[in-house]
């Protein structure tokens, strides 16, 4: 079921807009599917967050890295990169916004240059 394409589900709402989240400091995303890429639903929720000036930490983790070799779709990450970089530019916290990639597979050169736009304004840490 995890590998069904998004189109299988009957609608993908994408036009919501959330108000600013002035107190939000921590965002944790757990990828529980066997895909290496976030779903359109997830990116839609995140992109609906227009402002989170206090955000200091974003964690993107995965629970099933052993199953995802070779499955990587770039487009969702491009959308996420745009959102992350926009959030990072508007962060008002000292030291900037840190993105932690938790339980990321070791020895994968794929993460080099990962999320390039965000990398210019925020820090990326990788935890294996």
């Amino acid at each position: 079921m995890n590998d069904l394409p998004d189109a299988f589900y009957y609608e993908i709402p994408s036009t919501i807009h959330l108000p600013p989240l002035p107190a939000l400091t921590t965002l944790v995303i757990e990828l529980h599917s066997s895909r290496l890429s976030p779903s359109s639903y997830l990116t839609n929720v995140l992109c609906s967050i227009g402002s989170a000036p206090a955000l200091i930490s974003i964690v993107i983790g995965h629970s099933k890295w052993e199953h995802i070799d070779g499955i990587f779709s770039e487009d969702p990450w491009v959308d996420l990169d745009r959102w992350l970089s926009r959030i990072a530019r508007h962060a008002e916290v000292a030291g900037g916004l840190t993105l932690t990639l938790r339980r990321w597979p070791e020895g994968k050169s794929i993460w080099e240059g990962f999320l390039p736009e965000f990398g210019e304004s925020g820090e990326i840490k990788v935890e294996h």
Partner: protein
């Protein structure tokens, strides 16, 4: 035995397997209380008969076994033959902090008792799972005065069931955390309409409920945790009032 410091006995009891607690409680008088405290920290029931035995046979004194219970789990009681039994049970547990209800009906009269302060003041954590949404569910959530953590998993408004409603209650303090998992169609919207606010939110539900809930608590939300799983992809199926819900959400 008398020369062993009580702290050492307590540490031993804290570290023995649960299966050894009964034996520990029989070692000596000084071992009994601590062993029983741990053994009865969490109790579970799946049958009304067992709950009735507990309420009848266990002394309700303020310093006895019933006062050791901090977590109560009730499973698979989908319809109460004696609804008052649930109230009796909660009344008997003076130290209760965590209530877990899985596939269990909430008697209609229960929230009223809690609202009147008869019991339940110490409950800070509530789990509701695998049940149909009922107005009593929301009434209970809103009636617990010191609720801090709420987790709802796989509780849906049934197409033929009552529409989400909630009683008019005084504004209650925000929750520390709210978790919504699995199929909770209608419940997320009902929570949003109740104006229940929270500081931390975790979920794997679809975007509609998430958006409405985040809107309500946008000012105080400090942590957001999203599980991008198959359940997260799931969105409400069309039903009698889906068009109304959708239009509400998309106009945010």
């Amino acid at each position: 035995m008398d020369s062993i410091p009580q702290e050492l006995i307590d540490t031993i009891i804290d570290n023995v397997p649960e299966s050894s607690l009964l034996s520990c409680s029989l070692v000596a008088k000084r071992w009994r209380r601590k062993s029983q405290r741990r053994a009865f920290d969490t109790i579970s029931f799946s049958f009304e008969e067992d709950m009735d035995c507990w309420c009848t046979d266990i002394p309700q004194d303020s310093d006895g076994i019933s006062s050791y219970v901090r977590r109560l789990k009730i499973e698979e009681i989908s319809s109460w033959a004696e609804p008052a039994l649930f109230s009796r049970m909660l009344e008997s547990l003076s130290s209760l902090t965590t209530l877990l209800m899985d596939a269990t009906e909430i008697p209609d009269e229960l929230p009223g008792h809690i609202s009147r302060g008869e019991f339940g003041n110490g409950i800070t954590t509530l789990y509701l799972g695998h049940s149909s949404y009922t107005p009593a569910m929301m009434a209970m959530i809103l009636s617990l005065p010191n609720l801090k953590e709420l987790c709802i998993e796989n509780c849906e408004v049934m197409p033929e069931g009552p529409l989400p409603t909630h009683p008019v209650t005084p504004q209650r303090r925000p929750l520390d955390s709210l978790g919504l998992y699995g199929s909770v169609d209608g419940v997320a919207e009902a929570l949003a309409e109740s104006q229940l606010t929270f500081g931390r939110f975790s979920s794997n539900v679809g975007i509609t409920g998430v958006a409405q809930l985040l809107l309500v608590s946008s000012e105080m939300l400090v942590e957001l945790k999203l599980y991008d799983s198959a359940w997260f992809l799931r969105v409400p199926r069309p039903s009698r009032d889906d068009s109304e819900r959708s239009s509400r959400c998309f106009l945010l």
